[in-house]
Structures are given as C-alpha cells and as structure tokens.
Assembly symmetry: C2
Homo-oligomer: 109 residues x 2
DNA sequence: AAAATACGATAGTTGAGACTAATTGATTAG
DNA sequence: CTAATCAATTAGTCTCAACTATCGTATTTT
C-alpha cells in the first residue's frame, strides 16, 4: 500500500521547471537511469539526485536498483492527489470536458 | 482575449498552501473581498494582496473594483494549462477515468 | 588489485519568496 | 473637512530551496 502524498507535496514537486522536466522524461520513457536523466538536463548529477528524491517523496516516481544502476519509473498513483484536487476545486474545468469526452472516446470508443 | 499563463506560473501559484487556500476560498464563493479573504487566513492583509497578485498573474483570478472594495472571482480559463499538462503527461491518470466517466454522466446524462 | 563508473549524501552558497510592518492612495462616513 | 476603511505597495527580515562541489560507497572493468 502506497502512502498517499499530500497535494502540497505533489504541487511543490511539479512547480519547479527543472524537476518537472525530469518527471516528464521519466513518464515519457518506460524506465530511465540517473545518468541518462543528467545528460542534457543542464544541471549536475547531484542536482538530479535531489530532484529524484523530491519526486520520490511526492509519490510521483519509484526506483529499481539493478547493479550499479538505478532505474526510475513513474508511479501510476502519483498524480491522484492532483486529479482529486481538480475534481473538487476545478469547477470551471468542466468547460473543457468536451476535450475530455474526445479523449474518452479515444480510449473507450 | 486572455493571456494564457504558463504551466509553471500556475503550478507555482498553487504550490503554496496559503495561496492555494486563498484560491480555494475564491472558487468556493462567487465573489469575495480582500477583507473577507484576510479574515481567518492567519496572515496580514498585505500578504493576501501579494498572493492575489500572484494568482492574478497566473491567470487564476480576476478582480472587480467597486468603490473602496475590490471583489475577486475565479477565472474560468485559469486551470487550462494544468488540464492540458495532465492530458499530455498524466498518462497513468487514465486509471481514474472511471471517476471522470461518472462525473461526465452527472453533467451530461 | 587498481581504476573507472554510477549514485547517494552532505556542506556551503546563493537567490527567491513568504511574511510583517508601515506608508500611500482612494473611497466612504460622520 | 476630518476620520475611518479598504486595498496596494514598499522596505526589510527570514526561511527555504536549488544548485555546485566534494566525498563516500558499491559495482563493474581491465
């Protein structure tokens, strides 16, 4: 059972552009190492490690050590607090349900 | 035409608990003044004004001056960057489409 | 065994932002 | 007119976070 991170943790984790870019790369790839994440990030490996720590604490990513590599992947339940929050306070969000409806059909025609 | 705020602006604006609480109160109420927002916020009026400035720059709220009062309301398009971002990177979010489907039926049975 | 690689952890620096207190400008009340 | 109220703004303080640089550890390679 995964400890549900607070909405503040998730929001804060994704607020930083660098850290959000790291998360986006993790989501886009199935699994990815720290070295690959560091490459082309513009910051040092230590910075990436710290960002990964934040993302992990926010419940957004999970790690899988293998030998001297550590593979990171996105945690499926990670964005749940964000979705829940928007379901509650994003009232006007319903204006955009047309798009969601399209997306739904795409998944479940 | 409303200037679309960046995802970073929106995320950063909502990341702070105090500022997010202000936004939530604005969403919950139709219109609300600075005095009312200050009451029970735990911070000074100046702090509230600064938070409102951030929320306004993020495109999340709008103001309507009337006499010596300024009424704030939520901006409908404000959360659009957040929805767009989640549509793109929140792949696993689709796990929760069951709930969204329920919500859809509630709106458009 | 020695060297190289991949990560993690920590100390220290810097800059940003959240806040208070105080001032100012504008509007309303007495 | 004068006093009071509402909101924005500024200056100044303080905390926190993002980052670099560095060291330490485990694993792999030669």
């Amino acid at each position: 059972m995964i400890e549900p991170a607070s909405i503040t943790n998730v929001m804060r984790a994704l607020a930083d552009p660098t850290r959000r870019a790291v998360y986006e790369r993790i989501v886009s790839s199935d699994e990815i190492t720290v070295v690959e994440l560091t490459r082309g990030s513009g910051v040092t490996q230590g910075a990436i490690s710290q960002h990964l720590k934040s993302l992990k604490q926010a419940g957004l990513v999970a790690e899988r050590p293998e030998g001297r590599n550590v593979y990171y992947r996105a945690e499926p339940e990670g964005l749940t607090p964000l979705v829940d929050w928007m379901s509650h306070y994003g009232v006007f969000w319903r204006e955009r349900f047309t798009n969601l409806r399209t997306l739904l059909k795409e998944i479940d025609p």
